[in-house]
C-alpha cells in the first residue's frame, strides 16, 4: 500500500505554509491563532447570550474576522494563480450535520485541528495531547463506519 498515493511534497509544503502563518501572528502579536474561536467570537456582534457577551469575544472578534478574511483571501489567491478548480461530492446534509457536530464539539473542547492540533501541541499543552488523539480516533472510526 502506498502511504502517499498523491505524492507528499505538496502536503509538507502546505503544512509549512500553515505553520508560517500561525508563527507570524505569534511573533508579531503574541496571539495564539486557532481558527474555531472565530465561530464563537463573531456571535458576539448579534447574540445576547451571556456566553457571547464575555469581554474576551468583544476583544477578539475584529482580529479574528480579519484573520478569517485572510484565510479566504489566501485560498482565493491560490485559486486565481493556479486556475485549479476543486469540487466535492460530499452531500450537503453531511457537510451541514458534520459541521454542526464539529462546531459544537470544537468549542466545548477548546480547539480544533488548528487550535489543539497545531497551536496546542506546539505550546506543549496537556489538554491538546489528550484532545488530538481523541478526535483523530473518533474521526477515523466515523469515517470508516460511514462510507
Amino acid at each position: 500500500m502506498a502511504l502517499f498515493p498523491r505524492g507528499w511534497e505538496h502536503y509538507l509544503a502546505g503544512g509549512v505554509l500553515i505553520g508560517s502563518g500561525v508563527s507570524l501572528i505569534y511573533l508579531a502579536t503574541g496571539a495564539v491563532a486557532g481558527t474555531s474561536s472565530f465561530f464563537s467570537a463573531e456571535w458576539s456582534w448579534v447574540s445576547g447570550l451571556p456566553f457571547f457577551r464575555q469581554a474576551r469575544w468583544r476583544q477578539e472578534r475584529v482580529w479574528r474576522l480579519v484573520y478569517a478574511a485572510g484565510l479566504i483571501a489566501g485560498a482565493g489567491l491560490w485559486r486565481w494563480r493556479t486556475g485549479v478548480a476543486l469540487t466535492t461530492a460530499v452531500a450537503p446534509w453531511r457537510l451541514l450535520v458534520g459541521g454542526l457536530l464539529a462546531g459544537f464539539g470544537t468549542r466545548l473542547s477548546g480547539g480544533c485541528t488548528a487550535g489543539h492540533g497545531i497551536c496546542g501541541l506546539a505550546s506543549l499543552k496537556r489538554e491538546s495531547f489528550v484532545a488530538v488523539p481523541v478526535f483523530l480516533l473518533t474521526a477515523i472510526l466515523v469515517a470508516h463506519l460511514l462510507p
Binding site: 502517499f4 498515493p5 498523491r6 505538496h10 502536503y11 502546505g14 503544512g15 509549512v16 500553515i18 505553520g19 508560517s20 502563518g21 500561525v22 501572528i25 505569534y26 511573533l27 508579531a28 502579536t29 481558527t35 474555531s36 465561530f39 456566553f51 457571547f52 478574511a69 485572510g70 484565510l71 479566504i72 483571501a73 489566501g74 485560498a75 491560490w78 478548480a85 461530492a89 460530499v90 453531511r94 451541514l96 450535520v97 458534520g98 459541521g99 454542526l100 457536530l101 464539529a102 462546531g103 459544537f104 470544537t106 468549542r107 473542547s109 480544533c112 488548528a114 506546539a122 489538554e127 478526535f135 483523530l136 480516533l137 473518533t138 474521526a139 477515523i140 466515523v142 470508516h144 460511514l146
Partner: protein
C-alpha cells in the same frame, strides 16, 4: 500606561492577522486539505498526507512558540506572548470526540471550511453554516 500598539484591533496587528491568515489559507489550498475527500481519504487511511500537513505546521509552530519567548522580550508589535493556561476536564474529551465525529462525517474542520469558500468550493458553505450553528449551540449550552 497603555500600549496602543498592543490593542487587539490596532491596524498593524490586523495587517498581520490578514497576512497570517493568507499564508494559512494558501497552505490549506496547496495541500488540498480544503477538499473534504482528501481529509476523508486520510481518515480512511488511504492517503496519509495529512500527517505531513499537521507535522509540517506543528513543527514550524513548535520552533517559534518555544524559541520566541526565550529569545525576544515580547512580540514585535508590543503586548505579550499569550500564555493563557488551558483546561483539561471532561468537556475537553467529550468535545474532542464530538468534533472528531463531525470531522469524520464531513471531512471539514473550521480552517478549511473558510478557506474552501475562498477557493470556490461553494458546497463548503453548508459546513460554515453548520459550524456557526454548532458554535451558537455551544454558547447557549454554556450560558445556562
Amino acid at each position: 500606561m497603555t500600549d496602543k500598539r498592543a490593542a487587539p484591533a490596532a491596524p498593524s496587528r490586523l495587517m498581520i492577522a490578514l497576512a497570517g491568515g493568507c499564508l494559512f489559507g494558501l497552505g490549506l489550498s496547496v495541500s488540498r486539505m480544503i477538499r473534504p475527500e482528501i481529509v476523508l481519504d486520510f481518515l480512511r487511511l488511504r492517503d496519509l498526507g495529512l500527517l505531513l500537513v499537521l507535522g509540517g505546521a506543528a513543527g514550524v509552530t513548535l520552533l517559534v512558540y518555544q524559541l520566541a519567548p526565550r529569545v525576544l522580550r515580547g512580540p514585535l508589535l508590543g503586548g505579550s506572548f499569550d500564555s493563557r493556561p488551558g483546561t483539561l476536564d471532561r468537556r475537553t474529551v467529550v468535545g474532542a470526540a464530538l468534533f472528531g465525529a463531525g470531522w469524520g462525517l464531513c471531512g471539514v474542520c473550521p480552517g478549511p471550511a473558510l478557506a474552501g469558500l475562498g477557493a470556490g468550493l461553494w458546497p463548503l458553505g453548508w459546513a460554515v453554516l453548520g459550524l456557526s450553528a454548532g458554535a451558537w449551540l455551544h454558547g447557549l449550552y454554556s450560558s445556562r
